[in-house]
Amino acid sequence: MKQRDLPEHPEFLWHNPEPSSMYDVIIVGGGGHGLATAYYLAKNHGITRIAVLERGWLAGGNMARNTTIIRSNYLWDESAAMYEQSLKLWEGLEDELDYDIFFSQRGVMNLAHTLQDERDSVRRVEANRLNGIDAEWITPEQVKELCPIINIGQDIRYPVMGATYQPRAGIAKHDWVAWAYARRASDMGVDLIQNCEVTGFEMDHGRVTGVHTNRGTIHAGRVALAAAGHTSVLTEMAGFRVPIQSHPLQALVSELHDIIHPTVVMSNHVHVYVSQAHKGELVMGAGVDPYNGYGQRGSFHVIEQQMSAAVELFPAFSRAHLLRTWGGIVDVTLDASPIVGLTPVEGMYVNCGWGTGGFKAVPGAGTAFAHTIANNAPHPLNEPFALDRFETGALIDEHGAAAVAH
């Protein structure tokens, strides 16, 4: 049985060097984005004198806490371009990184439960198709065909009225993605330095020249911030602000079960999304806790509400058991789109504000951010996601219109 036959990790992943005193580029934050950025800087731009500084353990933040969903069916052109580029890279990632990351294009459906859900869904499908993204509006019967365990009966509180479906979407094993990037980056000479917290910046006439850390001062001509919600703490030290708010977002898993859930189902209306990982655990997420904070834990009632929705939609999950809950910290901007680009400090770059979309964006954002750092100018993909859009008002608002909060 395949479920009981899992591949091993490579025998060697990364070195644990002491930091040097000088690098060409320092990347602050060793999560998926930081590691991918280091990899693409080395691979696409030939820059290998790079340090990735991680306060805790590599990929231990949201990279270790997300529900691993990958899709590109975003509403607005700018988002669709970024996530579709990312999805194209995902499609070749196992070969490129030579690592079995369990990328599985099992499709993702977003359920509609109201007439307005349906309008929003059709709108997004039509926009996706014109943007060259595979997207379909499917009927409840088609939903059932793709996912036989779902209840499409009319007798539930919010019956399924249809769904958007992206066949090329899917999941991957989150930790392993980060490790795949880390391994290749380390192999190309990037120093991955854990247990290294940035406590301040060295500046010279408005230009960054290095970082102070708990392991000493480290110099670099360019400093790239990829620290998710803690980016605002860093930029505060650098003398500018980023408009992000951090909220807890909880996820959970069950114990292992025989595989019965073949795809990924998301419902924004009743706030639940669920897939079944390769090993057999149900992986679920819920809504964001409304309050701000960096504590990686959320409110229990959010879990309970999510469970109600889950057993309504999936009667088979009734006596699956909650095995572990955890919280990630989503860094949300005013328009629920990321900030990727230059900053008011010369030589400093920022990549944050991904909210709930960070994992799926890792390859695309990594290439675009690496390009931005290497050229001191944004890549066309991230140009619309500049920090100054909050001054001009040219927002890319993904919360309301996409009918998907995640």
Partner: protein
């Protein structure tokens, strides 16, 4: 292993036989058995194979940490992955062993589950000696006490040692006496079978009570989730015995020493006749004594040079010896032993049918750690212990490392009475004696492939070695590289073992790169150990890293697994987000209404008469409203009463248009925006008095608008005297619409002057209806037609519906639903927030600049100065008229320029992106203009009026003409009838 039930002994009810089935065989056990004890009593050694390596496995523990023995219970609704060691034996249980992977039942679980919310002054978690003592002491202080115990019996570790003397009597008698005292106390609640699985901020505990055994009992909830808000929490959660890592340590017949003792003492089951006890500490000696006392042959192998306690009689004790390997085919038949220091190079063999192991004790700190309670590594106890309780909590007993019963009693009593523990830290280690920190016994074959660290996940020491070799330094990385601690026991078996093993594998110089536990975790060594670390860095390079420097992985809820459906509780089926119904809902059902969900409400969508489809019904309803008279239930609109001396000032800041000078007795339509200037909600607000308004909101937006008002009031403008109260359900509103509506309202409200002059547009009047019902009637329109909205107390809602029907009957008054409402308002280009807007639309984009004051400050105003609000390219509300006048565009269709349209239809995604200029927000057939039309948001739409564009949907591209947003009665001639 030759386990069997002894003729006497144990705390089971031997006069009550219970039949159960495992696989295809039926067995008998006794009341008070678990499935595991009953299986062992029946001589079952092998309980299913391991998950990946498919190795035979046996019962290893006697509690929630069990890694091997899981059953699926059949009958009714099946449930998988239940630990046999905690599942209470019940009549006719039908079970099968499972190999680490469950099977979900796909039918609907029709058992009941409920939730209970309680406050208690003191909650005591765990009813072992410390917990019972704490309960007794707390009860004596007169406060409300809740004692929660996950087992179905009180006593904790004493259950396994029923003969031990406690306060001068045998332990089981002492437990019964305390139980009787507690049950007699009016201020104590005992919850058995109740596992506290979550501990959240402010002493909020969440617990699962198993109420009906496994099966469903009519009229009783099967499981209950308790939510407890607690004044003071006492954690008397005990500790877990650790296993030891050596070759073949997973073979059936290898069991924790304390489990072997518990099966004997509590269940009267002798799990082996020829026993080898392999220990690193003193706690296994009483186990050896108990086993020997009932006739087992016992050999103790102690890894230490000597013991700190008296040696039991009739037991062969060998110091400085370790087990290097188990022998046997399926089950243990012997062990290979060697000297602990490696001096004895030729291993010897010992025959045995049970290997009882004790690798030391790990305090059960899960609930403490869920609250970010700090831990330290205690070198003498060889375990992570809490440094101090979290606020308003106390710790007592083995969770602190207090290992002797008398100490647990006095510590529990102190904790229960909110006093300082009389037990000193040093005393704990002194009483426990030395524990050898033995993390791995090398195997005789040079490999570590059967040295199991986490038997449930089939992870071995070889996996840990491989992880370290791959560069993994953090315990979190090792966990993820191997999958240790991710099984059902969540690291209760393998967690500390892994950390200990890592200390042996990591050399000190590497430690600079070792991140400790989760970010922010306070895990350090005791100061006396000279190895305290900041951020997990070893400061003494000559020493091997200690477990304290590595830290633990994060402890998370739930402590024990909880069924999804128990968490759902009663919030299932009809009680899942219960539908809100208006008072006249039943009448609308009688009239054949179909309903749509709007927010939590059921709203009549349309009223199909016999043989009509939706289009026909809506067309008829539209004609009635435009040409005659029609009525609809508008009760669901949110209503918020806004009161206070500064109510007008507040509304003036919230709405984009002026409200300060609205006259009493008048209403005004208002739009509210977010700080980014985008439309957030809209509605009509009545001014009842200088300091009193009633605001209406969209149906779906009522709750978030109330939150919005509260947020601005409480956080931004606390100086304003203004208060908000939801009154949505206090009112019923019926709209009477159409050129003949005046006649209907005149009949309903004979005292009211309803003439055009006497009752002007946007006025409202309080009056008494002919029926005697007090009413507030407003002149307002959401269709452009002459219309009245009649508001009465919700209690009279159905009566009002009936009165309106009767008053209009002779005119042929027609009920209509939300679809017709949408058509009528769309013809007038009145936007629906959330349908024609999506959070990116300003009032100006909607063509409603008139509603945006240029004179006053309001939320969102500053944003209109930003570049993007003054540049071209903003999407504006316009109408689209398909050239095919019968074609109704799907809502959500995209709009593109003619030049961008491909030659023919597309049967998939476009190869190259096709630029879009807008999308259809609303789309209908209009009776008024005799054709289809749509509303759309189109880039620079107002400049494109009169031009053609192309609508795209389902791969089709159809020509449309862009028109002014208002397609009917632009001049507003119909408003006054």
């Amino acid at each position: 292993m030759t386990s069997r039930r002894l003729a006497t002994g144990g705390l089971i009810g031997r006069d009550e036989t219970i039949k159960f089935t495992l696989g295809s065989t039926t067995y008998a056990g006794f009341a008070g058995d678990t499935v595991a004890s009953a299986a062992l009593a029946n001589g079952i050694a092998r309980v299913g194979d391991s998950i990946y390596l498919r190795r035979p496995r046996g019962v290893m523990t006697c509690g929630v940490e069990e890694p091997n023995a899981f059953v699926r219970v059949e009958g009714g609704y099946g449930e998988s992955m239940l630990p046999a060691t905690t599942l209470e034996l019940a009549d006719d249980l039908q079970m099968t062993w499972e190999d680490g992977i469950g099977t979900l039942d796909q039918s609907v679980d029709d058992a009941e589950y409920d939730h209970m919310h309680v406050h208690t002054d003191v909650a005591i978690v765990g009813a072992g000696p410390a917990g019972l003592s704490a309960a007794r002491a707390a009860v004596a202080t007169g406060v409300r006490v809740t004692l929660l115990e996950q087992d179905f019996a009180l006593g904790g570790s004493l259950l396994g040692r029923p003969g031990e003397q406690v306060e001068g009597r045998p332990a089981h008698e002492w437990v019964q006496q305390v139980r009787a005292e507690l049950e007699a106390a009016p201020n104590c609640r005992i919850l058995l079978r109740t596992s506290v699985f979550g501990s959240y901020d402010n002493n909020y505990l969440v617990a699962l009570e198993k109420r009906t055994g496994h099966l469903t009992t009519e009229g009783m909830s099967r499981q209950r989730v308790w939510h407890l808000i607690v004044g003071r929490v006492v954690l008397a959660t005990g500790s877990f015995e650790r296993s030891l890592i050596f070759a073949g340590n997973d073979r059936p017949g290898v069991m924790l020493a304390s489990a072997a003792q518990a099966y004997l003492g509590r269940f009267g089951v002798l799990v082996g006749e020829r026993v080898v006890v392999f220990t690193t500490n003193d706690s296994a000696y009483p186990v050896a004594a108990d086993l020997a006392a009932v006739g087992a042959t016992v050999t103790v192998l102690d890894a230490r040079p000597s013991a700190g306690c008296q040696l039991p009689p009739a037991v062969d004790v060998r110091f400085g010896m370790v087990v290097v390997e188990t022998l046997g085919d399926e089950v243990v038949t012997g062990v290979r032993i060697a000297s602990a220091d490696g001096s004895d190079v030729v291993p010897q063999e010992l025959e045995c049918d049970l290997l009882a192991v004790s690798g030391g004790w790990s305090p059960n700190v899960s609930l403490h750690s869920q609250r970010q309670g700090a831990l330290r590594w205690d070198e003498r106890l060889v375990g992570f212990v809490p440094t101090a309780p979290v606020a308003r909590q106390a710790l007592a007993g083995a969770v602190l490392g207090t290992s002797w019963t008398e100490g647990c009693l006095s510590e529990g009593a102190a904790a229960g009475a909110d006093e300082v523990s009389p037990v000193h830290a040093g005393e704990r280690a002194d009483r426990a004696g030395a524990t050898a920190d033995l993390w791995l016994v090398p195997g005789p074959h040079g490999d570590l492939a059967t040295h199991f660290v986490d038997p449930q996940r089939d992870n071995t020491a070889a996996d840990v070695v491989r992880a370290v070799g791959a560069g993994m330094r953090s315990v979190e990385h090792v966990k993820r590289y191997t999958s240790i601690s991710t099984g059902l026991d969540q690291g209760k078996i393998g967690g500390v073992l892994t950390i200990g093993l890592l200390t042996q594998l990591l050399s000190a110089p590497d430690m600079a790169a070792v991140p400790a536990g989760q970010p922010g975790q306070v895990v350090g060594d005791g100061a006396e150990d000279g190895e305290v670390n900041e951020g997990g860095r070893a400061t003494n390079a000559s020493m091997r890293p200690s477990p304290g420097a590595l830290g633990t992985t994060t402890f998370r809820a739930p402590f024990t697994p909880v069924a999804f459906v128990a968490l759902a509780g009663r919030s299932r089926g009809q009680l899942y987000d219960p539908a809100r119904l208006t008072p006249s809902h039943g009448r609308q059902v009688e009239l054949g209404a179909r309903f749509e969900d709007v927010g939590q409400w059921k709203r009549a969508w349309y009223f199909a008469r016999h043989g009509e489809d939706m289009d026909a019904a809506v067309a008829r309803e539209c004609r009635a409203a435009r040409e005659n008279v029609a009525y609809m239930d508008a009760t669901t609109l949110g209503k918020i009463e806004v009161r206070g001396a500064d109510a007008a000032t507040f509304l003036n800041r919230i709405y984009t248009n002026a409200f300060a000078k609205l006259a009493v007795g008048k209403q005004r339509y208002g739009v509210m925006c977010r700080p980014d200037g985008m439309v957030f909600d809209d509605g009509v607000t009545f001014r009842l008095a200088d300091d009193r308004f009633v605001m209406t909101t969209t149906t779906g937006g009522a709750a978030r608008v109330l939150e919005w008002l509260e947020e601005w009031s409480q956080t931004e403008w606390p100086d304003l005297d203004v208060w908000f109260t939801s009154v949505t359900e206090q009112w019923t509103t019926i709209a009477v619409v159409g050129p003949r509506s005046r006649q209907v309202v005149a009949a309903l409200a004979p005292d009211l002057d309803v003439s055009k002059e006497g009752f002007e547009f946007m006025a409202f009047r309080d009056t008494t209806l002919a029926s005697g019902i007090p009413a507030r009637i407003a002149r307002v329109t959401f269709s452009g037609e002459l219309a009245f909205e009649i508001n009465v107390s919700g209690w009279y809602g159905q009566s009002l519906w009936d009165d309106v029907s009767a008053a209009g009957e002779s005119l042929g008054i027609t009920p209509y639903g939300t679809e017709t409402m949408h058509v009528l308002r769309a013809e007038k280009a009145y936007p629906i927030v959330g349908q024609d807007t999506d959070g990116t639309v300003t009032p100006q984009d909607l063509g409603m600049s008139w509603v945006v004051s240029t004179k006053k400050e309001f939320v969102g105003k500053r944003s209109y100065e930003r570049a993007s609000h003054n540049a071209t390219g903003r999407k504006q509300l316009v109408s689209l008229l398909p050239l095919d006048t019968t074609l109704r565009l799907p809502e959500g269709s995209q709009v593109i320029e003619q030049a961008a349209a491909p030659e023919g239809p597309l049967d998939g995604p476009a190869r190259m992106p096709i630029p879009m200029i807008g999308h259809v927000t609303s789309s209908y057939h209009s009776q008024a203009i005799g054709r289809s039309f749509a509303l759309a948001l189109v880039k620079d739409g107002r400049d494109r009026v009169g031009q053609q564009a192309v609508a795209s949907f389902g791969g089709r591209f159809v020509p449309v003409e862009i028109g002014d947003a208002v397609v009917y009665d632009k001049e507003g001639t119909r408003r006054d009838g």
